[in-house]
Amino acid sequence: MGINPDLAGRIYPAGESYQVGREKIREFAAATKATSRAHYDVEAARKLGYSDVVAPPTFAIIIAQRADAQLIADPASGIDFSRVVHADQRFTHHRPIVAGDELLAELYVDQIREMGAGAMITTRAEITTVGGEKIATTVSSLLVRAED
């Protein structure tokens, strides 16, 4: 089955909220070999003016990929996850993510472009707090390779 071209323009509403934990920020920072103290040490983060430890610049990928999973799992999408390659990624931060944030992600399918027998899918996650404050916009392009 090929990619459903009618996916373009589709919006997946935010699912369950994502609770940003202090230990998760520390774990993600360590896993990306980030060395800034503000990811690990509450006092270091407070000295920079933040209420708690600050997420690394790519931390929002956790939330964005959870949102993308809705699209990939949608039987109507026709996407075979084992054939997905990450083609490009962008993060625009409206304000830093800190421990204690409770976030929602609404997913927009911005573009479907056929590439031979495969397709390039561009999705955008609009990440906000549960109170509606804009936090980050992430844009991902996924290349779905054609089946042999």
Binding site: K24, E27, F28, A30, A31, T32, K33, A34, T35, S36, A38, H39, L48, Y50, V54, P56, P57, T58, I61, I62, Q65, R66, F81, S82, R83, V85, H86, A87, D88, Q89, R90, F91, T92, H93, P96, V139
Partner: protein, 146 residues
């Protein structure tokens, strides 16, 4: 702190190296929730015509930004960050190595000022990222608020 007024386009802000072994990929998989087996299972990776296990593109993107975060002194100053993933970073597991302390693949990073916006007081840092002698990220750009 970085003084915006002393920055010049083309200026090198520094270089950085990141090493990545299989254990690092397992740790990143757990931290990020991305358990695609091409990042930890060599048999599966080869079955889908990859040379071997490859690093998550997001591991590479996530780790090379440390150069910028430490240069500016505040990781949250990175207000925009983007890249294209051009070539996979292959992470081998050679015979006779200890999986927990084998150095693995070296990713090399150089950051240069690509653009300055005096009104917004932002600098765009362009990152040149290579591994195994090939460029692995393209148009890897971070905008920092100064």
């Amino acid at each position: 702190m970085i003084n915006f007024d002393t920055l010049e386009k083309g200026q090198v802000i520094g270089t950085h190296t990141v090493t990545v072994n299989r254990a690092d990929l397992v740790r990143y998989a757990g931290a990020s929730g991305d358990f695609n087996p091409i990042h930890w299972n060599e048999r599966f990776a080869k079955e889908v015509e990859l040379p071997s296990v490859i690093a998550h593109g997001m591991f590479t993107m996530g780790s090379v930004i440390d150069l910028v975060s430490t240069w500016v002194g505040n990781p949250a100053a990175v207000i925009d960050y983007q890249t294209r993933f051009t070539k996979p970073v292959v992470v081998e597991d050679p015979e006779g190595t200890n999986p927990s302390d084998f150095e693995g693949t070296t990713i090399e990073v150089e950051g240069k000022i690509g653009a300055l916006d005096a009104e917004a007081r932002t600098a765009r840092v362009d990152l040149a990222v290579s591994a195994n002698g090939a460029k692995v990220l393209l148009k890897c750009q971070a905008v920092v608020q100064l």
